[in-house]
């Protein structure tokens, strides 16, 4: 098994260490209940941002409908775990939600992904609105009042497991031949087609994969905050995720992670200045975009900084 190489084992060690440190901080109550909510938001936002980055940053398909896929995951997971209140039910719910989101992604992706740029953005925005209105009008989802009393089966451990799984799987995808095919679509669609890349197939593949992980994020959200209603997954949620992706850098996974953490910390910190909070937040975003239009990391990854340029190895 070549997956068990030195580099991957070291990475795994670092991941376990990060998990342990945070777990100790939670047990010692240094991270209190309030900060734990921020922590959960960060994890969910990272999953959303990394999965949207796959669609928008790597494949170059501008999507404004990510909250729609998230809501599918959230509702499916909520309904299933409300019927089977156990960790097992929660896991079934989260995967069922993710698969449902991916299927909707394929269904919507096939007709809309022939559009480009702003046209695609409008189409995906419309799609997310349709999903939201459906949830608003369905009986099983309890309409505008939403679902409450969803069993809380998730905690820091589950959040972290799903977060890491998302990052690792999407990273693996990007660094494979299939991922490169997706990136080639962003670079030059006509050339990609002429080099034998079935562009429709890979756009839909990226879209479905992005939707799958957005569904997981939705399931985690429903389970952690035990209350969901359609308005949570409105247009603004999609924009929030897009802001993280653009801020971190289109085409940088670690950029999305850093931006999600940064924005969450910033929001928490700015809560002391209630009146001017949103003004400062917006002004900071404008400033960052003016001075770093390519985002914090551009298309680079944090790990590139430690890598010798001429000794690229696939591990």
């Amino acid at each position: 098994m070549r997956v068990l190489n030195k580099k991957n084992i070291i990475t795994f060690g670092i991941i376990v260490a990060v998990f342990a440190v945070v777990q100790v901080l939670i047990t010692m109550k240094i991270i209190n209940a309030f900060y734990e909510i921020t922590l959960a938001t960060i994890c969910i936002n990272i999953i959303l941002a990394v999965s949207l980055n796959l669609v928008t940053g790597f494949t170059g398909q501008f999507s404004l409908g990510h909250a729609g896929f998230m809501s599918i995951g959230a509702y499916v997971c909520a309904l299933i775990s409300m019927n089977t209140d156990s960790t097992f039910g929660f896991l079934i719910g989260i995967f069922a939600g993710a698969i449902a989101a991916a299927l909707v992604g394929i269904l919507i992706g096939i007709p809309t992904l022939r559009l480009k740029g702003d046209y695609l953005a409008i189409a995906t925005l419309g799609m997310a609105e349709i999903i939201r209105v459906l949830f608003l009008n369905m009986e099983i989802t309890n309409g505008a009042a939403g679902l409450s009393g969803i069993p809380r089966n998730t905690n820091w451990t589950w959040l972290f497991v799903f977060l890491m799984a998302t990052i690792i799987l999407i990273n693996n995808f990007i660094r494979s031949s299939h991922g490169r095919a997706c990136i080639s679509i962003r670079e030059d669609e006509i050339a990609a087609e002429s080099m034998g890349v079935n562009t429709t197939k890979y756009k839909v593949m990226a879209f479905a994969l992005g939707a799958f992980f957005a569904g997981i994020a939705g399931g985690l959200y429903a389970s952690y905050f035990y209350f969901i209603k359609p308005n949570v997954f409105g247009f603004m949620k999609s924009v929030d995720v897009l802001v993280i992706v653009v801020l971190g850098g289109l085409g940088s996974i670690s950029g999305s992670v850093i931006a999600a953490i940064l924005l969450a910390v910033l929001t928490t910190f700015l809560q002391q200045f209630t009146e001017v909070r949103m003004i400062i937040y917006a002004a900071l975003l404008v400033a960052i975009m003016l001075f770093r239009p390519q985002g914090l990391l551009g298309t680079k990854e944090i790990t590139d900084m430690f890598k010798n340029k001429n000794t690229e190895k696939i591990e």
Binding site: M1, R2, V3, L169, N172, F173, S176, S177, H178, G179, R180, A181, I183, S184, E187, D188, I190, A191, A192, E193, S194, M195, G196, V197, N198, T199, M205, T299, K309, N310, E312, I314
Partner: protein, 266 residues
């Protein structure tokens, strides 16, 4: 049966017929030139052959060791899979990717693992990635791009970008290579270098080449047969020497002979 046979190929855009009733055939191993004045329909013909446009009528048949395949109406990626690869008149590299990645993307159609293998990094994934990297490196060695493999495509000098386009097309393992003005914008040195490369490709890969070119010194020197297109119609074909002295060809490039015209009057 020739490798590629084009019969009565026509493409109209509304009222404009960009390519009309074109017949041509290319035998295995030949190096064919396609020339014509600006706007004659050469690139449109290329786009028809490679699936970018769907023909209005006519057929394009490719002979793959006896089994004949109709290419008209296929998607570009299916045409590439059948064994046609092309370069572009205005360079279309994946600019923000490295030379190595540019080549590996062209190899993707032959990749031997599926998406789940990529997600979970199976042994097959590693084996295939190693193979692709090795093959890409061999190609880069042949075309003297090895020292630039981690350079971004946009940072290469112009001549090397044109070169990389050819290498990238080669990575799809074509039987027929279509080059759209490979020498455009090159200085005489670079053109000479390119001439050598094309000759080398044919020898080492046993390839058939169709090229569009305006640089007549290049065309006359290396092409074995030439087709001439004007106003979307095939006006002449034959050996370079024949084409060069063909009256219709001279007229299409230079206009009608004035002395001829005045002679007729008197």
């Amino acid at each position: 049966m020739p490798l590629l046979s084009v019969e009565k190929l026509t493409k109209s855009f509304g009222g404009l017929t960009a390519v009309s009733n074109v017949n041509m055939h290319i035998d295995k191993g030949e190096l064919i030139g396609l020339i014509g004045p600006n706007g004659a329909g050469k690139t449109t013909l290329f786009n028809l052959l490679t699936g970018v446009y769907v023909p209005t009528s006519g057929s394009i048949k490719l002979d793959l060791n006896g089994s004949i395949k109709e290419l008209g109406g296929l998607k570009p990626y299916d045409v590439t899979k059948s064994g046609l690869a092309r370069t572009f008149q205005n360079i279309r590299l994946f600019k923000d990717l490295t030379v190595l990645d540019n080549i590996r993307i062209a190899m993707h159609q032959n990749v031997g693992y599926a998406m789940p293998s990529a997600l979970f990094r199976s042994n097959k994934f590693y084996a295939e990635e190693d193979r692709m990297k090795l093959e890409a490196e061999q190609l880069m060695d042949i075309f003297k791009l090895s020292h630039k493999k981690n350079e971004l495509a946009k940072n290469l000098p112009y001549g090397e970008q044109r070169h990389l386009e050819i290498v990238r097309a080669m990575a799809t393992k074509p039987v027929l290579l279509l080059l759209d003005e490979p020498a455009a914008g090159m200085n005489p040195n670079e053109t000479a270098e390119l001439t050598k490369t094309i000759a080398q490709i044919r020898k080492e890969f046993n390839l058939t080449v169709l090229l569009i070119e305006h640089d007549m010194s290049l065309v006359m020197k290396i092409c074995e047969r030439i087709y001439v297109l004007n106003y979307g119609m095939m006006i002449a074909s034959g050996l370079p020497a024949e084409v060069r002295s063909n009256k219709k060809v001279i007229e299409s490039y230079l206009g009608e002979d004035i002395s001829d015209a005045s002679n007729k009057k008197s």
